[in-house]
Structures are given as structure tokens and as C-alpha cells.
């Protein structure tokens, strides 16, 4: 079988497979290595603030910084556990202007 396959379908040189795999993995790693240092702190503070009003777990909050073309996109995803909303909030009132 292998013999016939190699006769009719010449296999791709392994070096070009290596090159393509490297390009993909490095594009991904370079983007994540360039992520600014403030992300973990931002995540921690958001968790504290949002946690005063709704029940969330530590892994229910994800902060990522992506980019497409010229624009950067700060993406914050918050998963509320069972849709529970704390009444009135338990911390000092905060107002934010964006």
C-alpha cells in the first residue's frame, strides 16, 4: 500500500512541513509573549470589583488582548455563576467613565 501511495502521491518534503508548523506556532507565541505585563493585575482587580456585585469564580473571568490590523482589542469575558446577583453590592460604590 505504502509503495503504491508513494508512487502516485509523492509525499511532501518534511522540511517544508517543519517550516509551516514553525511559522504557525511562532506567530502564536510571539503574540502571547508580547502581551503586556498588566494583564494579570487587571484580571485580579476586575475579579475583586465584579465579585462584589455578582458571584464569579476565578476562572470565570478571562482577559485577553488581541489585535486585528491597526486596532487592539481588549476582551473581557465574565461568566456569572448560576446567574446570581448580590443585592446592592457589598463594597463601596464605584463609578467609572470610559
Amino acid at each position: 500500500m505504502g509503495f503504491f501511495r508513494s508512487l502516485f502521491q509523492p509525499s511532501r518534503p518534511s522540511a517544508s512541513i517543519a517550516k509551516e508548523r514553525l511559522k504557525i506556532v511562532l506567530a502564536h507565541e510571539r503574540a502571547s509573549n508580547r502581551a503586556p505585563d498588566f494583564l494579570p493585575n487587571l484580571q485580579k482587580e476586575l475579579l475583586a470589583v465584579v465579585g462584589r456585585y455578582v458571584e464569579i469564580s476565578e476562572d470565570g473571568l478571562r482577559v485577553t488582548l488581541g489585535s486585528s490590523g491597526d486596532t487592539s482589542l481588549l476582551e473581557i469575558n465574565i461568566e456569572i455563576e448560576g446567574g446570581k446577583v448580590k443585592k446592592g453590592g457589598s463594597g463601596p460604590a464605584l463609578s467609572a467613565a470610559v
Binding site: P13, S14, A15, S16, A18, K19, R21, L22, K23, V25, L26, E29, R30, N33
Partner: protein, 271 residues
């Protein structure tokens, strides 16, 4: 005299950092530059063996940092060349013995005496490797044409751009150079190995040289002789070229196309 500091690094182990450090230091010395090569691999000292001075080590890097010996007691003068000095590391198991302030003091002292300081980095991205690259003005990124080596080189290039002293002080970036080692042009032409151009394209840093896979490299380390002293060795000649390019000369890349073997050689074995 204020020395230029060159780190030889790679991220991945076993790609030829110590071989390159020894060859590069000897190559610079042969070109008339007073050069010292420092082993940063605390606990896994090997530069002394590759340089053939393992029986002459009395004091080491850590002794000098701790003030137990002075610099000139620890520096070993190479027996083959007056311009070449070896600074061995310690075999201590305490990896954090390389304190940055201590290293900085020793580097400043070395800079007064030498033209080039070659820092032979340990593998990895831990304390020793970061200390080795921290003071660098230039970096030689030793890479094999193989996926894991290329990936780790990319990582270490990123670390040079963010964690070196030049980066911390917002000075001009460390000057990085690609040195491709263990290159087999025959396998490249068959599509079995990443080519020079592939690696250049992926890492996008300037190419300093290509060192062909060569039996002479093992022979050199067996005998404790930097490979540039072997004039018949293709690897040795490729290192001499790389040093010349580092010094600003234009030299054509050799050993990047498959060698045409004569019938005589094919019949009577390899040279």
C-alpha cells in the same frame, strides 16, 4: 580599551554553544584581538574541557565574585595564543551564586583589559542564561536546522529584546546574529532539513554564518582544541569566516551546497 560583550546563546541545549564560544573566542584572538571567554554554566563546567585547560583551573568565576580570588588569579592564559584567555566557572550546585552585582563588577574589570568578552550561556531561560545575556552588546544565536532549536532561538531573541540591560535602560537593542550549526547541505537539497533561507525567514535576524556538520567538531572537543585551529576542517573554516563577518568583512557563504565528492574519495573513504 573598552570591551564588546558577546553572548553565545540558544535556549536549547546541545546545539553547539560551547563549541561556538571556544571557536569564536579563538577566532577573534587569531585576528589579533585580546579576548576572554567566560563559562556561565555554573555547576556544569565544560568550557575548560573544550578549550583543553581543565587541569589548569585553580580559581573560578564564583571565587572572584565572592572576593576569594582576584581576576588575574582565575584567568587562564591559552597556551596556543597570547590573546586568548579562559575564565572557568564553578562546579558548585548553587545556581544562584552568580549574583548580578558581583557579575557586573567582574565584567567592568574585564572590560578594562580585553577587547572582546565572550559569554558562553547555559541552556534554558533560567537565572544563568539570563545573567549571561544581561550585559551583552551583541548576541550569537546558535541554531540547528530543526524545529525545537528554531523555536527556542525565537524565544531567546524575544528575551534579549526585553530582559537585557540594554532593553532595561532603553539603549539601542542588542545586536543579534544567527549562526546555523550542524548544517547538512545534502539533506537540505533532498528536502529533509530546513534550509538556511527557511531559518532566516522564520527568525528574521541577519545571518552570521553556517557551520556544516563535520567530524572535525567532535575531534576538536576530544582533544580540547578550538575547531578554528584545525585548518583542514570545514567547520573550522566556516567559523573563521563567521568571525571575519562579525568584524565587518564581506565573505561568501561556503559549505551551503552539497559537496561534490570525487570518485577517489567515494572509493577510498572520507577525508
Amino acid at each position: 580599551m573598552l570591551a564588546k560583550v558577546i553572548v553565545v546563546t540558544s535556549g536549547k541545549g546541545g546545539v553547539g554553544k560551547t563549541t561556538t564560544s571556544a571557536a569564536f573566542a579563538a577566532g577573534l584572538a587569531l585576528r589579533g584581538h585580546k579576548t576572554v571567554v567566560i563559562d556561565f554554566d555554573v555547576g556544569l563546567r565544560n568550557l575548560d574541557l573544550v578549550m583543553g585547560c581543565e587541569r589548569r583551573v585553580v580559581f573560578d568565576f564564583i571565587n572572584v565574585i565572592n572576593g576569594d580570588a582576584n581576576l588575574n588569579q582565575a584567568l587562564i592564559k591559552d597556551k596556543r595564543h597570547d590573546n586568548l584567555f579562559i575564565f572557568p566557572t564553578s562546579q558548585t550546585r548553587d545556581k544562584n551564586a552568580l549574583k548580578r552585582e558581583g557579575v557586573e563588577r567582574v565584567m567592568e574589570e574585564l572590560k578594562q583589559q580585553f577587547e572582546y568578552i565572550i559569554c558562553d550561556s547555559p541552556a534554558g531561560i533560567e537565572h544563568g542564561a539570563i545573567t549571561a545575556l544581561y550585559f551583552a552588546d551583541s548576541a550569537v544565536i546558535v541554531t540547528n536546522p530543526e524545529v525545537s532549536s528554531v523555536r527556542d532561538s525565537d524565544r531567546i531573541i524575544g528575551i534579549l529584546a526585553s530582559k537585557s540591560r540594554r532593553a532595561e535602560r532603553n539603549e539601542s537593542a542588542v545586536d543579534v546574529h544567527l549562526l546555523l550549526t550542524r548544517y547538512d547541505p545534502g539533506r537540505v537539497s533532498k528536502g529533509e532539513m530546513l534550509s538556511v533561507d527557511d531559518v532566516k525567514e522564520i527568525l528574521s535576524i541577519p545571518l552570521l554564518g553556517v557551520i556544516p556538520e563535520s567530524e572535525s567538531v567532535l575531534r576538536a572537543s576530544n582533544t580540547g582544541t578550538p575547531v578554528v585551529f584545525d585548518e583542514d576542517s570545514p567547520a573550522g573554516r566556516a567559523y573563521v569566516d563567521a568571525v571575519a563577518r562579525f568584524l565587518g568583512e564581506q565573505r561568501e557563504m561556503r559549505f551551503v551546497t552539497p559537496e561534490r565528492r570525487s570518485l577517489f574519495r567515494t572509493l577510498f573513504g572520507r577525508a
